[in-house]
Amino acid sequence: MKKMELVKLIDTTRCTACRGCQVACKQWNELPGLKTKNWGSYQNPPDLQWNTWTLIRFNEVADKDNRVKWLFRKDGCMHCTDAACVKVCPSGALYHTEYGTVGIHHERCIGCKECMAACPFEIPKYDRDTDKVYKCDLCYSRIKDDQQPACVKSCPTGALSIGAKDAMIKKAYDRVKKLGGDANVYGDQFVDGTHVIYVLQEKPEMYDHLPKHPRVPFSVVAWKDFLKPISLLAAGGVLAGSFLHYIIHGPKTPDDIQENKTQGGE
């Protein structure tokens, strides 16, 4: 049954980096906190981890007037429509849900880490102990029950919201229009549209770890869309060729044994 496509909007201009979402995600998904150290930043863990599916990134930048700006960005799975991870996943652990989001059947994951290399946003993270890869599934168990994802529910300031795709994209563009300046919408223009979109306060290149032009890697396209069918063709060709050879040309059978004997007797 095809359900409504959902989009989560992250409005960075409303985010206070309280990190309620980061903890709510762990609380709901029962992910542990791990030992970290202060590495000179509020951002911790320093990157997404198998136990951290959503992370607030902190960026200190100075504008042209040398005024400081502190940018906050909630990082996590973008839930691409043309999702490289789903493309490459050998086991079908990563899949598109009926909401257009990218779900993950952890029990099916074999820990091959292929999705990690494929993802243009470097989202999936591997855990050695369970030999599996983890990432946000946009709280599939919650949205299925008409509940907001844990992060969206926890967000105090309305920086996170979720709803029907068209409505959310419109909301994002309306907001950007109101904000003016460098504000922009990020996410709907590539990989056939992500199911997580941003309203960014600044140009994308001002944010750490945010690709300016994300796309499914060429290697993935080359393999999955090109090499895979070719390989089938090649395999089929070889089989067919061999068969044809057998029936047309026939096997290469040794000549009469007597002849050999003569030779052997030399």
Binding site: V88, P90, S91, G92, R108, C109, I110, G111, C112, K113, E114, M116, A117, A118, E122, Y126, D131, P217, S219, V220, A222, W223, L227, K228, I230, S231, A234, A235, G237, V238, L239, G241, S242, H245, Y246, H249, P251, K252, T253, P254, D255, D256, I257, E259, N260, K261, Q263, G264, E266
Partner: protein, 222 residues
């Protein structure tokens, strides 16, 4: 065993061959199980795709050893083309595809076999390198890792194709060949047909081992 059979391979060669062959086959099958969702059932038979992954990865270790043994053993014999006779053979396609009055005489390995060996050696190495990187992708840069997957697949396509041709020609496509890798003993007739030059060489060097005859010459050969 019939008297007069000729020893084509020794036990070490056969073990190496089969180690390589079986590991390669297992890798192909398990690889397929991961490459195509429609082949995922292969994993189910092994208790889940994860087991399949482990089978694939650890079979690869056997494959690496076998490949190393094979390359070391066969490189001199099968890894070097001898001109011009090999070229002649290739021009005639070894008599496999169209009628050739006189197929150029070949030694222990014909250029087809040499080509197959080279494909196995090179693609095998490619598979080993790409596979190992895929096994531990987190210690390599992402751009590199990303290309390992298509290369691994490409290598698979090549090996798979040659593997099948090899299988065909080693069995029904060329009757009498199979025993060379099972018992190691072949008929003189097969040898004359397939590898006349080698036969001659062995006879000249006195390294020919014939079932039921004295084997004195073997020692000399070494």
């Amino acid at each position: 065993m019939k008297k007069g059979m000729i020893q084509a391979t020794d036990a070490f060669e056969r073990i190496t061959h089969w180690l390589l062959a079986i590991s390669c086959l297992v890798l192909c099958i398990t690889g397929l199980g991961m490459m195509f969702h429609s082949f995922n059932f292969v994993g189910t038979m092994m208790g889940g795709l994860k087991s399949l992954k482990y089978v694939h990865n650890f079979t690869a270790l056997i494959f690496i050893v076998a490949l190393y043994m094979a390359v070391r053993m066969w490189w001199k014999e099968a890894g070097v083309f001898v001109l011009p006779e090999d070229l002649d053979w290739i021009k005639a396609a070894g008599g496999y595809l169209w009628h050739v009055d006189k197929v150029p005489e070949v030694g222990k390995y014909n250029p087809g076999q040499k080509a197959f060996f080279l494909v196995v050696a090179l693609c095998g190495s490619l598979m080993v390198v790409t596979g190992l990187i895929m096994w531990a992708p987190l210690i390599f840069p992402v751009w590199l890792v990303r290309w390992m997957y298509p290369l691994h697949a490409l290598g698979f396509v090549a090996i798979f194709s040659f593997f099948f041709v090899h299988l065909y020609l080693g069995t029904i496509g060329s009757p009498g060949s199979a025993p060379a890798m099972f018992s190691g003993w072949v008929t003189r007739a097969w040898l004359l047909k397939q590898h006349p030059k080698w036969l001659k060489e062995m006879e000249e060097h006195g390294t020919l081992v014939v079932y039921g005859e004295e084997k004195e010459s073997i020692e000399h050969g070494h």
